[in-house]
């Protein structure tokens, strides 16, 4: 059995097993995540050695059948999912078991893998529906009134988004007569086709929580449980961003109108998210608004990258997605631990005399460094790549915006970090460090991963440079 | 023979449609729930049965007739059951309203 078949089907089988055997759910889920990581690594190795790997399901050729294509971008996304997944599984397996977490998380994993590999728009729509439902379930797991309300709004917004995508796919069929990825370049050749593409992109903007259609997101991401928030913020929104990037890649010069819009929306999101993060009173809400800002940055990067047939600047966007996934997952896991130790997550209450900063605070600080984009983190490599390319192309105003966004992110993250890492006279002599937990290992591991990825950035860049299908 | 069945089928279908139209008119014009229900259940079932009979005459196949028979049976059954339930609910709530104040 090929790695591609296994990587899309194993999570779904694990979802069934975890639903059928709740007592063994954690063991099965952790095992499946580990296997998934091995498969992703092996697939990445194959792509590095022999270029894109493809598979026609049931031996039916596209457009009638559906093809899986594992190229460099898909490989990086699968690896991102696998790494974040490992940490989240570790945290969830060690923490208090919530019934229902594992089947939902496994369904999320299966949907993401299928989404990254599929090269058929309708198939991607169905994968989005699994992803949307599972993500809503993860939000609702918290069980509070706020979480339930946020879950309803999340599902409504997500469904509007996916129905807009479906409408775009229907019009794509009406214009080009097909719905596989080949249709994208055909769509860019006529006004009617561009309407179809614009509808798909509009749906994706809702699903990716890109400004100004991000209204549903901060509540959902901040009211979920920590492991769920990490998945939602680090991975689930990436599904839609990935497809936006893929459309930009497939369309080439013809998707310039989408990239221009995306750049403007991205810039707006970056500033709006940062402004709200500066004013947030609760830690989780700050991190959620920071996701709005970071999604804006990624969209901006996709938008200003220019025609992907001519420049490799889009790789910066992929790197930013990767580094944001690691750092943001680490941050949400760390916030979960901090809130657990303190009993609340008010930012003003992070200053405390009786408790020394623990590993979770440390993980938060490293993740913050990566999000701001200081060397040697992965966030730095992504931003550097982008700014370097923009200098060559003379996009000074975009560089100014990116730097402004960076300064703002440093400002809002330092609100937390400066309070977390206080020492010296502010801490009582009798203060204790919080005890180590597995959750700390997961958060710290991811944060270290984000840090080290900056040093090992050659690997994902080589992977991204394999010619896309 | 075939021609005759054809015309008979069309005639039956027209009659059935007339019944259904009558039922609709009744629901629209009649004043209270019970009389509406009265016209609905009877005219509705008869209308569907006539249309099914007409369709069977037109189709002239055993399999089609069998499934049409099944359709009629289901419509008659569900119509009667729901009609009964609605009426019962109405009577019960009316009597409980009389008792309570």
């Amino acid at each position: 059995m090929s790695d591609i078949s296994l990587i899309v089907l194993l999570p779904l089988l694990a979802a069934v097993l975890t639903a059928a055997l709740p007592p063994q759910a954690a063991a099965v889920g952790a095992l499946a995540t580990a296997l998934n990581a091995l498969l992703a690594a092996n697939l990445g190795r194959q792509i590095l050695q022999g270029g894109p790997v493809t598979e026609a399901i049931g031996d039916w050729a596209a457009p009638l059948g559906i093809a899986f294509v594992a190229d460099g971008l898909a490989g990086v996304m699968l690896a991102m999912t696998a790494i974040v997944g490992l940490a989240v599984s570790l945290q969830a397996a060690a923490g208090p078991a919530r019934a229902g977490f594992w089947p939902l998380w496994m369904a999320t994993l299966g949907a993401l893998n299928g989404l990254f590999l599929s090269s058929d728009l309708f198939n991607i729509y169905v994968a989005f529906e699994i992803l949307g439902l599972a993500a809503v379930g993860l939000t609702a797991l918290a069980g509070t009134r706020a979480a339930l309300r946020a879950a309803f709004d999340y599902l409504t917004a997500g469904l509007v988004g996916s129905l807009l995508v479906l409408l775009g796919i229907a019009l794509s069929y009406s214009v080009t007569g097909r719905v596989d990825m080949e249709a994208v370049v055909l769509l860019t050749q006529s006004d009617t086709g561009r309407i179809a593409l614009a509808l798909i992109a509009a749906g994706l903007v809702v699903k990716a929580a890109l400004f100004p259609l991000h209204f549903w997101m901060p509540a959902a991401h901040s009211s979920a449980a920590p492991a769920a928030s990490a998945l939602l913020s680090a991975l689930v929104v990436k599904g839609a961003l990935y497809l936006v990037l893929r459309l930009s890649l497939e369309g080439g010069a013809g998707t310039e109108f989408l990239r221009n819009t995306l750049a403007v929306l991205g810039a707006g999101g970056m500033l709006w998210g940062a402004w709200n993060a500066l004013r947030a009173e609760r830690l989780k809400l700050l991190v959620a608004h920071s996701t709005v800002a970071q999604i804006g940055l990624i969209a901006l990067a996709i938008g200003v990258a220019g025609n992907p047939f001519e420049t490799g600047l889009w790789q910066a966007a992929a790197l930013l997605m990767l580094s944001h996934a690691l750092a943001k997952a680490a941050m949400f896991l760390a916030v979960g631990r901090i809130a657990e130790a303190l009993g609340h997550d008010r930012i003003s209450g992070l200053n405390r005399e009786e408790l020394r900063p623990g590993p979770a605070e440390f993980a938060f600080a490293i993740a913050a460094i990566s999000l701001v984009g200081l060397p040697p983190t992965a966030g730095f490599i992504g931003k550097w790549f982008l700014i370097e390319g923009l200098i060559d192309e003379g996009g000074i105003h975009w560089i100014a915006l990116i730097l402004l966004g960076t300064a703002l992110s440093a400002a809002y993250l330092s609100r937390v970090v400066s309070r977390c890492l206080r020492g010296g006279p502010h801490v009582a002599a009798t203060a204790q460090r919080p005890p180590w937990r597995t959750g700390d290992v997961a958060a710290l591991g991811l944060a270290t991963g984000a840090l080290l990825l900056g040093l090992a950035a050659a690997l994902p860049i080589t992977l991204l440079e394999t010619p896309f299908a | 023979m075939t021609e005759l069945l054809h015309f008979a089928g069309i005639g039956l279908m027209i009659a059935g449609t007339a019944f259904l139209a009558m039922a609709a008119l009744g629901v629209w014009r009649l004043p209270d729930l019970l009389s509406r229900l009265h016209v609905l259940t009877k005219a509705d079932t008869a209308g569907v049965a006539l249309i099914a009979l007409g369709a069977a005459c037109l189709a002239q196949s055993f399999a089609a007739t069998l499934s049409l028979l099944l359709c009629t049976l289901l419509v008659a059954l569900s119509g009667a059951t729901t009609g009964h339930l609605i009426a019962r609910d109405h009577v019960e709530s009316a009597s409980s309203q009389e008792e309570s104040p």
Binding site: E129, L133, R145, F152, L155, L166 | -
Partner: protein, 91 residues
Amino acid sequence: MISDFAFLLSGAGLIGLALFRLATSADLLMRVLGLNVLAIGIAMVLLVAARGAAGTDAVPQAFILTGIVVLVGVTAALLALAERVAEARDE
């Protein structure tokens, strides 16, 4: 042809009506209804596009069938959530 055009107008109208309702109503049940009408409108537009001289293309038909099943699942989840939201409000 004229029939197809009538159904196309109806499909576009359903989508328009649903979008209008979704943008103006805060009522949870109305949102669920609006999303369902939106999906039906999309299916109508797709099916009109699938019409050809040799009959209706089978692949979009399969898409719509899939869409119907997906939608009933999502509707069930939406309604369950809406019920719990209402209940939590009462508590």
